[in-house]
């Protein structure tokens, strides 16, 4: 069974893994493209309806507060349905922003996909 889902420029890889939706995000995320990221993420969530969402951020070297707000919106939506959100492969600058915003403990942060899938 093919579990791959058509991706987008910002989310080039998307697939289902059991009850999890695994998305790879790519590129610098800022006020210019965060509205597109929001639309892409919400569309994929609507289609897949996952219990767990894994966002692989290894290819995101930079993120600003507008993109962070998108992730928080996604998190709140997942929490409403008792879902969980895992952030995987955070680069230092992205991790730094999460720390400043006091969101590290609210998301589940994992070093890689295997660790996230095992939780």
């Amino acid at each position: 069974m093919d579990n791959s889902i058509t991706g987008t420029d910002l989310i080039p890889a998307a697939r289902k893994e059991g009850d999890a939706l695994v998305l790879s995000i790519r590129g610098e995320l800022d006020l210019h493209n965060s509205p597109t990221l929001r639309v892409d993420l919400m569309s994929l969530l609507n289609r897949a309806q996952p219990k767990r969402l894994m966002l692989d951020m290894a290819q995101v070297p930079y993120m600003d507060s507008s993109a962070l707000a998108v992730l928080v919106e996604v998190l709140k939506r997942m929490l409403k349905s008792n879902g969980r959100v895992f952030l995987v492969g955070l680069q230092p600058r992205v991790q730094g922003l999460l720390e400043i915003a006091r969101l590290v403990s609210i998301f589940t942060v994992c070093k890689d996909e295997q660790e996230a899938l095992a939780m």
Binding site: L31, H32, A69, L97
Partner: protein, 137 residues
């Protein structure tokens, strides 16, 4: 060292190039990668706030960024001609799950001095960061 002068519009499409220019300037000043990243983040957040708040989302309005470095002190000035208000000196506690406010938190935590000076026709934001002083979020 020559100052950095950027004359841009409020279009968020400019943010990536501004980040590159500021990062190069910070590196030339002697800031390490972590500090440069923090300064770049603050500039990005300040410019995004200009677009969102001062210019109410308009993308064709002028923004001037001037950065200079001397005696170990980096000074960055961002001027707009919009209608943004002056944020409070002390930010109230924020719920991390509520939107908004992260940009200002970054400025207050990561820069040594942040000052909003209302102008008759807009706002002047001045930020300072001293070389060698590490800041932590």
């Amino acid at each position: 060292m020559s100052p950095l002068k950027l004359r841009i519009t409020s279009d968020p499409a400019n943010l990536a190039e501004v980040r590159q220019d500021v990062e190069k300037f910070c590196a030339a000043c002697g800031f390490d990668e972590e500090s440069s990243g923090q300064i770049v983040l603050c500039v990005n957040e300040a410019l995004a706030n200009v677009t969102r708040h001062a210019y109410r989302g308009a993308t064709d309005r002028p923004v001037h960024l001037d950065a200079e470095f001397g005696d170990g002190l980096l000074q960055i000035a961002i001027r707009d001609w919009g209608r943004g208000g002056t944020p409070p000196d002390r930010l109230p506690p924020r719920d991390p799950l509520q939107p908004g406010g992260v940009g200002l938190v970054c400025l207050r935590k990561l820069m040594d001095r942040v000052e909003f000076t209302p102008q008759p026709d807009g706002m002047l934001l001045t930020m300072e960061r001293r070389l060698g002083e590490r800041r932590h979020g």
